[in-house]
Symmetry: C2
Subunit: 457 residues, 2 copies
Amino acid sequence: MSAARTLHLNTNVTGTGRHPAGWRTLDNPKSIIDLAFFTKIAQTAERGKLDAVFLSDALALRGHAHGPAQSLEPTVLLTALAAVTRHVGLIGTASTTFNDPYNLARRFASVDHLSAGRVAWNAVTTYDTDAAGNFGGGAALDKTARYERAAEFVDVVQKLWDSWEDDALIADRTSGRYADPTRVHAIAHDGPHFQVRGPLNLPRSPQGRPVLVQAGGSEAGVALAARHADAVFTAQTTFDGAQAFYRDIKARAVGHGRNPDHFLILPGLYPVIGGTLGEARQRKAEMDALLDRSAELAKFAGALGVTSDALQLDAPLPYDLLDSGTRSDVSSGFIRSTVLLARSENLTVRELLDRNPGAHRMLVGTPETIADDIERWFAGRAADGFNLNADVFPSGLAAFVDHVVPLLQRKGIFRREYEGTTLREHYGLPRPTSRYAGRADVTDTATSGALASHVAI
Amino acid sequence: MSAARTLHLNTNVTGTGRHPAGWRTLDNPKSIIDLAFFTKIAQTAERGKLDAVFLSDALALRGHAHGPAQSLEPTVLLTALAAVTRHVGLIGTASTTFNDPYNLARRFASVDHLSAGRVAWNAVTTYDTDAAGNFGGGAALDKTARYERAAEFVDVVQKLWDSWEDDALIADRTSGRYADPTRVHAIAHDGPHFQVRGPLNLPRSPQGRPVLVQAGGSEAGVALAARHADAVFTAQTTFDGAQAFYRDIKARAVGHGRNPDHFLILPGLYPVIGGTLGEARQRKAEMDALLDRSAELAKFAGALGVTSDALQLDAPLPYDLLDSGTRSDVSSGFIRSTVLLARSENLTVRELLDRNPGAHRMLVGTPETIADDIERWFAGRAADGFNLNADVFPSGLAAFVDHVVPLLQRKGIFRREYEGTTLREHYGLPRPTSRYAGRADVTDTATSGALASHVAI
């Protein structure tokens, strides 16, 4: 951790890349289930000294007629990527609505052990009725309930990560003492959503706690992030808006007694890179020509909560439909950011679709213009770094690593070599002490059936 | 799959091995969180052409003052082991009581993809109040409810594994068709315990379905295994008893319309190997000398559901205490098998503890006596193979691989080379066709929010 402020860069992997038709340009269009494809992404990120590979996720299948989405379970895929890399961080998305905290805490701590301290959990609440249909058939919890559950879920997970102190595993061959029961703690959590006794059945992981990331820009998400997260992933489309978001959320963190330097604001960025602006535009145009426009329009209408025929490609958005009536929180954030972008630049539906609406800021340009833009946002404290989306992997990422990263290094804002080994070190975050350190409670549960567990095989 | 009947051998990994003091002989006594340790185990198993590495599991910490137990989450650890091996199968234990079927189906299917078809799920119901305390604080479900849930859980998981037909992923760059919606099926499961719409968000895995294993010898477990499992792991301590179990459970499978050759009976075996019988005994005695007898006695008493002072090392079991009164099903299987062993050989508590009570049959001997015993059980149809426990890894396994495996190969009952690449092929199991193949229902859910899922990052 050097004293100077350093840019942080993740590569954000969703499907085979952000461009919906990108898979049609791949040698192996079935890459979504091909370990070699993800290996190439992770090794390219590591070659570029990026902080981390970040896997998005969803818990339902959608749109499979038209293109790929994240399919392999993130903690499993990250473990495979840990085996083929040595430095790059490994960030996985997992839902607080459709998991149990004990299993999730253990899974991320396991990856942290196996990656020697490189893992992060991106906690999402999953506002998705398709996913809910895979977990009980009911509707997703309403937003307030989801975030209440999420806050308690994160609390339980972090307590479990702290339940073994760092020096609790003794393993002294001479005395036969294996763990120190005074340094292994029940968490005895008893809350509205979870009752979890603990401790975790795994010694504390290399980072103490895996890095905690929060994604999503709703008020409830921002509040959760400001209190708990080590980094927040956010969709910001304008410099001024991003500066305001940055100031606000850092101030909130300070209000919770936190050091704002230990809380990274990482907006999404979607660069499309060419040697000249014309080449960059050409790259995008070639992929756009492969788009199924009617399928894209139907997906877009679905996300906005309107029918396809309410949208016309060469007309503005139907603002009256979008502004009126009650709206589930499912799509409100998406609608808000889409309307903001459309109004601010007076865009037609076709132009909006070209701009990757509602998701991450697209920059079509040369390495120089993209590096300058990144520097401007970073220096202007609109961002501490970025989640980089590639139009298609691995080529979109390789272009960034080979042509933009060297410019950022020359500007003196990005590392030339990894200085640490853990993701906490890449991010400049301190390693937390267990909250239970020094507590005297003894929680050994040795006598209640260890042999029975053997019989269970 | 050759026509001749072939022995099947897994190595069963619990902690650092079966002997409670084995960790005190290791160079790195903290091996339980050391990937190099597990890598060595998996590579040794593969060198011996074993069918699989099998990870036990528990969902609570117990006995940590005295020794290690499985800590790293099995699907995560198996993924790491897939990266350092090419042939050996990878079997992970996971609970039907403390998981959701959608997440579990996806996780095992993901490992199956990343290992090119080498994974199996060992489904257990987890009769463990310590674990229950980590998942809601209540008592574990009673046995009937647990097995009803388990049967439905397995059904849901297998439906999800079938929800993509083999040829559903088209990924045709020219037409832009990615998946064939007529070959991707909602499962629309609506049962007493689970309502799961499906489909899985992952194309069908290399084995079609990961291999399904069931462990545990209770009536409910046996019934579940005979109907659904590809292999059953069982604790059998006598040849006659094992033959009877084998005959009974294979007959049950036939009664369900199954081919008995596609249902493997694999008792546990715990060999302690020396160049001479004296050396084998010496190896065991040296580890026994490192045991904490009072801790072992306390664990044993806990597993039997009695207090420590009810047991005396040099007296028989207190049969009256064990036979009388109501007994939770938590420990009844353990008690039954322990009492059977103690009565059949008139053993004291100390002698019982020496025999690894209630768990797996211990054979202290030379490579020749152990290979002969294995051949006898295999030829006599008391077993289709074994789950091999090592006293301590990796040396206990290496002794088996280097000295027993060549004898089994010379007897013509064990493979000299892997003949296939998947665990199904090692086990001689057919690859199942999706139950939905040919069904005409169309389940594309493309329009309901794919863009919203991008916003969620």
